[in-house]
């Protein structure tokens, strides 16, 4: 039964091989200076400062001595054509020991002389328009200061479009389409059968069947080509509006999902610090990886998700079919019952982390503990309520499928396809919400990935070796598959896994490779981690669907009102008690996220 256990010695051997690197490097001496060469002994956090016209807050500039010898620091003042608009407060520290840092604050004051105001002068908004100069051990360092006049396009529309493309078009829609295939294939694998594997495409003389992946495309094409009709007495406007009201909220609600920390445009190859990322998150020189930065993000989720209830009710009502109306009533009653429990469970996380903004929630989880540690009951309740909200098995009696007529009985073709796709997008969204609220979003466990790289060479080696072993395991499994050319595909996957192991060994021999990652790599690892968490939770939802029998409708309602709601209220009370008793300890965390 557990034949795969014979692979168990392999990871240990691989780890032994990988551990050789750090052991050897440990013998070699202290790590080379972060930031490499001698010319950059000082590390500035943030690397550059960007001001907008209305900024009145100070920016904290930290200067850290990352070299191995102490530094005589002298502050030379503001330089550049618009240096005069900067005002400083510094600590006047002149000697920095290795590893220590000092902090100064820079503030912008708009000059009364309009010729010196960079925001009224075209040439002001460029890099290097001003700078803060330091001298250390005879060498001169300058922190560039940019003045930006953000337009609606550059500050909101442009980054928003890019993020929509990146998140929705490049991740969610392909994943939703793939999920239609994964559902059928995974259910087959769980039930000891093969699943779809026949749809193929002939390229040259080769018929590519690709494990039946093309069945997803075949399903989509089938729905597009079906006859599009409206029942004779159905209400035409509402009948068309039903699928739209179910589909649009499912996509709109992705605006508040954070899939990474922040992206700094100009520094993709540089090693950045958390101060840089925080600056980019406010829109200066970068963008936060979340489509909309709403302070009450979670309320936005509940508000928009409630709109999906309209879709099902309209669909049932406008079909001019008694059974569809009853199905619509069942669906809407179920959805509103579980929305209550959904909202209540999230209040627990809100109490613990002190913020409703999803990006700040994830940062709070990174700073303290993940939600799964602090709010395990809320995780179970939220997941259950989310599955019930999306009318996914075992709560899918409204759509029934094999026993009862659902609310979309009169829909066919692409109208039904919109309901179908909306359901899969909601699956992805429920997984994304659980990942954001309880599983730390884009962060790796034990916080091994920071803004500038892994926390240590061992952490980097550990990450790459775990990833490599997992990929090799998948590749070996793929090689065993009973499909044509599975061996080739599996071999490629094993090769990629082996490359990861090589990277892990590389981390051991060159610690700076792991601890100083360029910003682009850090963002990429964060996004991939988030994507893997979401995909894993989607897999788990499909597992639940094909394992559990369906709830009867009265069982479903009593579970929602008599089971989940009291438990979530109890969770709130208990969490509030614990937070109140531990307030002195948690005050710094709440302050940080405010």
């Amino acid at each position: 039964m557990f034949h795969f256990l014979r692979w168990l010695p392999a990871p240990f051997l691989a780890v032994l091989l990988i551990a050789v690197g750090p052991l050897l490097s440990g013998c070699a001496g202290p790590d080379p200076a972060l930031g490499a060469s001698e010319a950059t002994q000082l590390r500035f956090e943030p690397v550059d400062i960007t001001f907008h016209p209305d900024d009145r807050d100070a920016v904290n500039l930290r200067i850290v001595n990352s070299g191995s010898e102490s530094v005589e620091l002298r502050y030379l003042g503001a330089v550049g054509p618009y240096g005069g608009v900067l005002a400083f407060e510094d600590e006047s520290v002149t000697r920095l020991l290795p590893g220590l840092g000092t902090q100064m604050t820079a503030r912008m004051s708009r000059p009364k002389d309009m010729r010196a105001d960079p925001f009224l002068n075209e040439a002001g908004a460029q890099n290097g328009a001003a700078g803060i100069a330091f001298e250390a051990n005879g060498k001169r360092f300058t922190v560039p200061v940019r003045f930006e006049r953000p337009t609606v396009w550059s500050a909101h529309v442009g980054p928003g479009l890019v993020k929509i493309l990146l998140l929705v078009m490049a991740f969610i829609m392909p994943l939703a389409t793939l999920l239609t295939w994964v559902e059928r294939k995974q259910s087959a694998m769980m039930q000891d059968r093969l699943g779809p594997n026949m749809a193929g495409i002939r390229i040259g003389g080769v018929n590519l069947r690709l494990w039946g992946l093309l069945h997803a495309a075949a399903d989509a094409l089938k729905m597009l080509f079906k006859e599009d009709f409206i029942p004779r007495h159905a209400h035409k406007v509402l009948y068309t509006l039903g699928p739209l009201m179910a589909f649009i909220p499912a996509l709109v609600v992705f605006a508040i999902v954070p899939f990474g920390d922040a992206l700094c445009y100009g520094h993709l190859g540089d090693v950045l610090s958390q101060a840089d990322i925080d600056q980019c998150a406010t829109g200066r020189g970068g963008t936060v990886l979340q489509i909309a930065n709403i302070d009450v993000g979670l309320l936005f989720y509940f508000a928009v998700a409630s709109l999906a209830t309209y879709g099902t009710t309209l669909a049932g009502w406008s079909s001019y079919n008694k059974y569809a109306i009853l199905g619509g009533l069942r669906a809407s009653a179920q959805m509103i019952s579980y929305e209550v429990a959904l909202g209540m469970t999230v209040v627990g996380a809100l109490l613990v982390y002190g913020t409703m903004e999803p990006h700040a929630l994830v940062r709070a989880q990174i700073d303290t503990y993940w939600g799964i540690v602090l709010q395990p009951l809320a995780l179970v309740l939220f997941f259950t309520a989310a599955i019930a909200e999306t009318k996914r098995a075992p709560f899918d009696l409204p759509e029934g499928e094999s026993e009862i007529i659902g609310y979309f009985v009169e829909y066919s073709g692409m109208r039904f396809g919109l309901f179908f796709l909306a359901e899969f997008i909601e699956i992805i969204f429920a997984s994304a919400m659980v990942a954001t609220l309880f599983l730390g979003g884009w962060a790796l466990p034990f916080d091994i990935l920071g803004a500038s790289g892994f926390s240590s060479a061992a952490a980097g080696a550990g990450f790459f070796s775990v990833a490599g072993l997992a990929i090799i395991g998948l590749g070996v499994g793929a090689m065993r598959a009973d499909e044509q050319r599975a061996g080739v595909f599996g071999a490629i996957v094993v090769l990629i896994g082996f490359l990861h192991l090589v990277l892990a060994v590389w981390c051991g021999f060159f610690p700076a490779f792991a601890t100083e990652l360029p910003h682009g790599a850090v963002v990429l690892i964060g996004m991939v981690t988030w994507g893997l968490k979401v995909a894993g939770l989607c897999w788990f939802q499909l597992l639940v669907r094909w394992t559990l029998p369906r709830f009867r409708y009265d069982q479903l309602m009593s579970l929602g009102w008599k089971g989940l709601l009291p438990l979530s209220l109890a969770n709130i009370v208990f969490t509030a008690l614990v937070v109140y008793l531990m307030l002195p300890v948690m005050e710094p965390v709440l302050e940080a996220t405010r």
């Binding site: 795969f4 694998m189 769980m190 039930q191 026949m198 998948l474 639940v544 094909w546 394992t547």
Partner: protein, 204 residues
């Protein structure tokens, strides 16, 4: 054999009421099947018959009594066994068999000039096979009627139906009432329980 009484309680324990332990147990079971079949050694245990694949012949998997496309059987000289008695077209509930008879200038007297089966109308009931007195029509080809582009392509004529045929087991003129009793011992056609000699010798 002693009778023991075992009390079984149908009360729901607290663990049952929470649902989660049983759910998690079930999820582990299905997840184990999933990983065995996807990544592990489970794949050979999947018993799905892969119809449509090049190497898979339906003939190997269908039971003997499977009713597929019809075929017309031959005589020893290769001509069609059918004597156009119209039994099959009469009994067919879907009226899909059309026969036009012609004169056969020998002991068999009649043969079908045209024998047309509209496979689209056929309900695959097998009554024609049961009705035929001379083993002229069989449905044991173990091949489905494949989908066609045109309706006319599914109307099969005599030549098409004879293409799959082989020599029938019928004998012209019949084999007599005592055929089972008189058959040679090793004849495979009569190798069933009804052919074994019965006490009393009554052939019926």
């Amino acid at each position: 054999m002693t009778i023991t009484v075992k009390k079984v309680s149908f009360e729901r324990t607290p663990a049952d009421q929470v649902y989660l332990p049983a759910i998690i147990g079930g999820l582990i079971t299905t997840a184990r099947h999933f990983f065995q079949n996807t990544l592990g050694k489970g794949q050979p245990n999947i018993e799905t018959i892969r119809y449509g694949e090049p190497g898979v012949r339906t003939e190997d998997y269908y039971p003997d009594r499977f009713r597929g496309v019809h075929r017309l059987m031959h005589r020893e000289d290769g001509s069609v066994r059918c004597v156009a008695c119209m039994c099959c077209s009469t009994v067919c509930p879907a009226n899909c068999i059309t026969i036009v008879a012609e004169d056969r200038h020998d002991a068999a007297e009649k043969a079908p000039e045209s024998f047309v089966i509209d496979e689209l109308k056929c309900v695959v009931c097998g009554l024609c096979v049961e009705a035929c007195p001379c083993d002229a029509i069989r449905m044991d080809t173990k091949v489905h009627m494949h989908p066609t582009e045109e309706r006319a392509q599914a109307v099969l004529g005599k030549i098409e139906l004879m293409r799959r045929g082989e020599q029938s087991v019928a004998v012209q003129g019949g084999v007599g009432a005592t055929y089972r009793h008189d058959a040679p011992a090793g004849d495979p056609r009569f190798d069933d329980a009804a052919s074994k000699p019965r006490s009393g010798g009554d052939p019926v």
